[in-house]
Subunit: 301 residues, 2 copies
């Protein structure tokens, strides 16, 4: 049915205990769009890069079927660059640098062909940009939004306004605690529901994810991974796989939402097995179906 | 079919952000035995108290149907006392004092009526005591063992020897990491399997529990609690409910093990809702069935 993805497209430099990669394809919008592309064949990316953005990377996105009419390329502009380093057990990530570059002056305007897209994912980006997209959308069926600690700390008022206009807020456990000041995640989720969304999904990494509405609670197991290569983008892949699956089935029932969370976990689990989206380039529909079935077996009692 | 429980019976002084209780009924063996009593009607406790142990507390155990022939009462002895304080969000517990008293010279001898008990739970106690019980048991069908950081640090050799003789080791996430030096819990569980047990169950508090064997993996959701009064004994209640359920159905299949973990989580969830075992005194079979069904609903996709 179509998924619109707003988010960053970046050049990432990532250091892990084992390896360092430089200026690889990254960004919340990129990860989410590629993840969504496994389920729906109309994935429309809204983002910005500089004219230093390699054609090879654009080609990778095109190969995944991601529509790029909304990917603005700024002449004489530099692409957003991010650098991070993971601790030995991957539990701590230090940001080494953030060069916003072309993102600083980005005011997204939806192409005509994007405006009526029914499923919208607002990946991590300034809350005001997220709201801009919501206001330009003409036919939203489901609006899902992510955020991060930076916006919670620095743009709380704008963030609250955006959250009021979305159906589902997805965030991780530490962000949920930061947003509410509440350490019990279920209480935190209920406090966020008071701001406006009808559902809150909290990502808990190796502990899976939970979904909370006024009348439902779902606990999704994580796919049991023993080899972590690079966790960068896993949360965006979760959200992208989630909304991609929902768009493919065209409904937002509790049952579909739960399946979508499991599919999101599956795509995230592949993402962690290599740097950037390298692992995604060889993932097949059978691979996805196989991990989905494993998760069914893992959760059965 | 009968459950033998080895573990401590103590007088606990517990401080939470809301309240302080003094010399209430506590101890790993006490919590586990009471939890198991909800499922099986032959729960046999092996422990020791002093002659200062209140008759009221003995009566509470009897009311839960716990058999006390193996509860030694030492003349002129003082009961094990423990004091702890919880942080504001219950994530940190400081031990304020530990007075081992009569536990120091305790060498448990199984009463004749206990020896052939098929299901055995060795709650937190010195590894050598746990091994003594194993060696006195004449008809073990399933031996489940718990431990804690103190024995991992101080009695590693004896602990390994005990672990080699048990079927299932239950421990929490931080203990699994401490025992193996491995932060990935699945890898840690597999390392523990190499020591000898055929199954490792890792308790993760609000994130549920996982069970790992050479050929299976199960992820159990936690019961979603928003009001924590006192977490003391929750892990022992999990293990007690777990083995009590298994004894009641008399088998140790993967399917029964999974159900048993869910029943263990249910009993633990009640335990957290009040100090000592106060909440258990009013829990009914219907209450248990109701939370079990809720957990089925919570995990379904």
């Amino acid at each position: 049915m179509g998924v619109l993805v707003l988010g960053t497209v970046t050049l990432d430099t990532v250091e892990t205990p084992e390896k360092r990669v430089q200026e690889v394809l990254g960004g919340s919008g990129m990860y989410a769009a590629v993840a969504a592309s496994f389920f729906d064949n109309s994935i429309r990316l809204v983002s910005v890069v500089g004219d230093d953005f390699p054609q090879d990377y654009t080609d990778i996105l095109s190969k995944h079927g991601v529509e790029l009419e909304g990917l603005r390329r700024v002449e004489n502009g530099k692409t957003f660059r991010w650098g991070g380093r993971y601790s030995d057990d991957f539990n701590v990530r230090d940001t080494l640098f953030t060069e916003l570059n072309v993102v600083l002056d980005f005011h997204p305007i939806l192409p005509e062909s994007y405006k009526a897209t029914p499923f919208i994912f607002l990946a991590n980006d300034p809350p005001q940009l997220q709201l801009d997209i919501i206001q330009q959308a003409t036919n939203p069926k489901l609006i899902v939004c992510d955020t991060m600690d930076f916006w919670i700390n620095e743009e709380r008022e704008a963030l609250d306004k955006t959250i009021q206009h979305v159906d589902i807020l997805i965030l991780n456990d530490s962000e949920a605690k930061l947003l509410t000041g509440e350490s019990n995640l279920i209480k935190a989720a209920r406090m966020i529901l008071q701001i406006g969304p009808e559902r809150v999904i909290i990502k808990k990494g190796e502990h899976g994810a939970i979904s909370v509405t006024d009348s439902s609670f779902f606990s999704a197991p994580a796919y049991p991974l023993t080899e972590v290569i690079d966790p960068t983008g896993a949360g965006d892949c979760f959200a992208g796989g989630f909304i991609g699956y929902l768009a493919s089935v065209g409904d937002t029932s509790e049952s579909s939402i739960r399946k979508a969370m499991i599919y999101g976990s599956v795509i995230a689990s592949f993402n962690i097995e290599d740097f950037t989206i390298n692992r995604h380039r060889t993932v097949t529909k059978d691979d996805i179906a196989s991990r989905y079935q494993e998760l069914q077996e893992i959760a059965k009692f």
